[in-house]
Amino acid sequence: MAKTKPNLAPLLIALALLFLIPTRLCALEIKRYVLNNGAVLLVSEQHQLPMVTVSIAFDAGSRRDPEGKAGLASLTAASLAEGTRELSASELNKKIDFMGSSLTVSADRDYATASCVSLKKFFPQTLALLTSVLTDPGLRDEDILRKKTEQIAALRSADEEPGYVAKRVFTELLFDHQPYGHLPEGDLDSVERLTPQDVREFYHTYYHTGSAVIAVVGDVDAEQIKGEFDKALAKLQGQVAPQPPPPPPKVPAGAHVTKIDRNVTQANIELGFEGIARSNPDFYKLQVMNYILGGGGFASRLVKQVRSKAGLAYSVASFFTPGKFPGSFQVVLQTKNSSANQAVRMVLEELRNMQTRPVSQKELEGAKRFLIGSFPLKIDRQSSIASFLLQVEIYGLGLDYVDKYPKLIDAVTVEDVQNVARKYLHPDAYILVAVANQKEAALDVSSAAPANGGH
């Protein structure tokens, strides 16, 4: 078929010209209030659509789970959405569904988040239901026990996925019994032990406005919504005792390999070590470094080597999980059992390359241009703006973060990238979890040690 060939030269010239870093990408007007009840309220009015999104973060994430009770924060959050003192679970669900609204409460590692989305015309009723599940929850035994059996069943369902098992075991090994030492949903044994009384105590201890952050995005009036929230959550007034940061996890030198045998076609691999807290000033340098290493999709070295060149994996990526406390760094990939050794060797080699050789100017610029240029994509709808607002407040990023971010990224140099790679990557001291058909995978990382010895 005769197809003509468009001339791409002008495009390439245009691309070269666009190499300038834009200074201001998007504006996001944020109003910030400190409420009578101690909560901080952030509002971004968006009047283009008749809908409203609310997210409220409480200091009630799974890092607060007591020892031996992993999964309690999650069960508490899930139980809160099961009715109020006045409304049974089914009455509440009927009201929410009838309006086409959604109401969810869930816990992640750091925070529990209560959210609602509704049409503007149903916003007052929806918000009233959200605040009443928070201030006057039912927390009846039968509902809590039902949510508990659901959580157990969901854990069994998740354990069917080899990738999930690898992630869970990696997390448990790295943060051994520390606040981040389990996934928010807990594990089968721990959830089995949870009682309705545990849930009610957790709720009374951690759902307080003194450390809560509220984000409202949508077709609302900021002043009016402030007035409503001043009243609505008064019952939750009070502080949550601060949680001391845990000692940082240390992985001793060497490869710490855990093999889990399953009759699967792929080896599901998690390889990593300790990472950083969000407050670490190296955060931005690491963002650039990790984009080049394995965070930047098809622009990243890991995807180029492991996927594009070698065809060993559909998905391979590296990431940091910075939180209130230092999180993890990990590389995650799946490859057919017989390629497991080769893929792991390639990953370790790329980690070492980041440390031993400076990245090219082109890679650095590419990373910066994506991180800065794609920022507007991260705040292009109500739900993403709401989570952005919560982060701005929780991590003290400042209301002008949208303006500051390009400068923070643009300041990163080639030397910075190499320095943080040396400081935070540990290709000679890592935890590796592999869920695989172990006979076929025959994983042996001793051959992955660097030529010059190392550990």
């Binding site: 078929m1 005769a2 197809k3 003509t4 468009p6 791409l8 990408l25 968006q46 283009q48 659509l49 809908m51 959405a81 089914s90 009927k94 929410i96 569904d97 009838f98 309006m99 086409g100 959604s102 659901e150 069943a153 069994r156 369902s157 354990d159 069917e160 075991v169 090994l173 051994d176 030492g181 389990h182 594990d187 089968l188 390999v257 855990t258 093999k259 889990i260 045998d261 076609t265 622009a299 180029k304 594009s308 060149k309 065809g311 060993l312 994996a313 559909y314 998905s315 799946q334 490859t335 057919k336 590419g366 241009r369 240029g373 794609s374 507007p376 994509l377 292009d380 994983l443 001793s446």
Partner: protein
């Protein structure tokens, strides 16, 4: 908490956004403000172009839909549509492999693509100032397809199949159910293709496939975002007008004959939980009954007050999850799905019995006006929520235009609004009945290990 779509029929190039289509399938619009604002044109080479300004955020999305999917494939060469989608990122006569994505990302954008039974779509979401970049790049790979590294990309797709299907008991179940429900029509095989077929596909197959299906007359462009529509229309015309067509792609002639009698199939393999998939043959958008079927899907399993959720999750505690899925925008008539993942120590037959009872109840007694209104409200609200994303807007326009006219979107909420309680009962009786059902059951064999922390495996130095 709404359940997400669990049956992956959309295969992405990278694993994001897989569940968006089920959401879109129930979005629609009452007034016609959305399509009134759309600028539509057909270039002289037959390429359809839809452009819509949306100034909500300083971003834009660019999509190219090709009217080709697994529906166009042949026995023995399944998975070629999806493989070509992957190869579209592996270079052209002017660009090296993966340069496409690198250029998009350097301009602050993200890109991806997905293949379905009915179409293949490519998209970029990008800073509004750089929209011309994807316009030029998409024109280039429509005209100058010349992929490098065929073997490694095929290996990547085979890894994708291992990840999605081979090691995923539920996806394996849906694949088998689908292949039993369709015997003659190409919906018989999975979008990703059979593993053995993938092994035998060649670069020549891919080049031929691109030549037949990737022409302007077989494509639709949709651009939505914070831009000037005139300017974008001009840029699209400048870049795509000179691309020439080959012969017209061959039509799909296969028709699935009516199913006469229930089909049952079992899958025995290691798994944690038993699961079932019920699939019923139903009409698509061409039949007004499709609106009532959307309502049935809502009433049965959308939201915590839905009938099957209430009965199976809350009251009887028999399942981990229960879902319905119905894609009325399928090009050829497709399936209405009811799927459930079953709790340990619950009899599969008991779950099937409860679903049978709920279907019979809905067939024998029309839902109340209140319950019907709830379902309609859910549909309307999710339409408004969908407009919060320019990507979803572009998806909807493209999906309707795929079927012949994007303005059919305006009829959607009107059609939903017309559904009566009697319609609901009537379509349940007509379509959700035994003889038109395929029932697939996943029976776990063996017990999976449950490793706990405290090193379960060996430690190697």
């Amino acid at each position: 908490m709404k359940t997400s779509s669990i049956r992956v029929r959309v295969i992405n190039r990278v694993s994001v956004l897989v569940a968006c289509c089920a959401v879109l399938a129930i979005a629609g619009r009452a007034s016609c403000a959305l399509t009134d604002a759309v600028r539509a044109t057909t270039l002289p080479n037959g390429l359809r172009v839809l452009v819509l300004e949306n100034h909500k955020a300083p971003v834009a999305t660019f999509m190219v839909f090709y009217k080709v999917g697994s529906r166009n494939e042949k026995f023995g060469a399944t998975g070629i549509s999806h493989l070509v989608e992957h190869l579209m990122f592996r270079g052209t006569k002017t660009l090296g492999p993966e340069e496409f994505s690198n250029i998009i990302q350097e301009n602050g954008g993200t890109d991806n693509a997905f293949t379905t039974e009915n179409y293949t779509a490519y998209f970029e979401v990008i800073n509004k100032d750089h929209l011309e970049v994807p316009i030029r790049l998409e024109a280039d790979r429509m005209a100058n397809f010349a992929p490098q590294g065929f073997d490694s990309e095929k290996a990547v797709v085979m890894e994708e199949r291992r990840l999605r299907t081979e090691d995923n008991p539920q996806d394996s179940l849906y694949e088998i159910a689908q292949s039993q429900a369709f015997i003659q029509h190409p919906y018989h095989w999975p979008v990703i293709g059979w593993m053995n077929d993938l092994e035998h596909l060649t670069l020549e197959d891919a080049l031929k496939y691109h030549e037949v299906y990737y022409s302007p007359q077989n494509a639709i462009i949709v651009a939505v975002g914070d831009f000037d529509a005139d300017k974008v229309m001009r840029q699209i015309s400048e870049n795509f007008s000179q691309i020439k067509n080959g012969a017209k792609p061959p039509p799909v002639t296969e028709v699935e004959p009516p199913q006469k009698g229930e089909r049952r199939v079992e899958l025995r393999r290691p798994a944690e939980l038993a699961a079932i998939a019920e699939a019923f043959h139903v009409p698509n958008y061409r039949d007004p009954d499709s609106f009532a079927l959307e309502i049935v899907a809502e009433l049965l399993a959308d939201g915590k007050s839905s009938r099957l959720y209430r009965k199976l999750v809350v009251e009887k505690r028999m399942v981990v999850s229960v879902d319905t899925e119905y894609d009325r925008l399928s090009v050829d008539p497709n399936l209405f799905w009811i799927t459930a993942q079953i709790r340990p120590n619950v009899k599969v037959d008991d779950v099937i019995g409860v679903i049978d009872d709920e279907i019979a109840t809905l067939r024998d007694k029309a839902p109340s006006d209140d319950e019907l209104q709830k379902a309609k409200n859910l549909v309307q609200a999710s339409f408004v929520y969908g407009q919060d994303s320019i990507f979803r807007e572009a998806m909807l326009l493209g999906q309707y235009e795929m079927l012949g006219d994007y303005r059919m979107l305006d009829q959607y909420l009107v059609g939903i609004d017309r559904v009566t309680p009697q319609d609901v009962s009537r379509v349940v009786g007509k379509y959700l009945n035994r003889p038109q059902r395929t029932l697939a059951i996943l029976i776990p064999t063996g017990v999976l290990p449950h490793p706990a922390a405290g090193p379960a495996g060996s430690t190697v130095r």
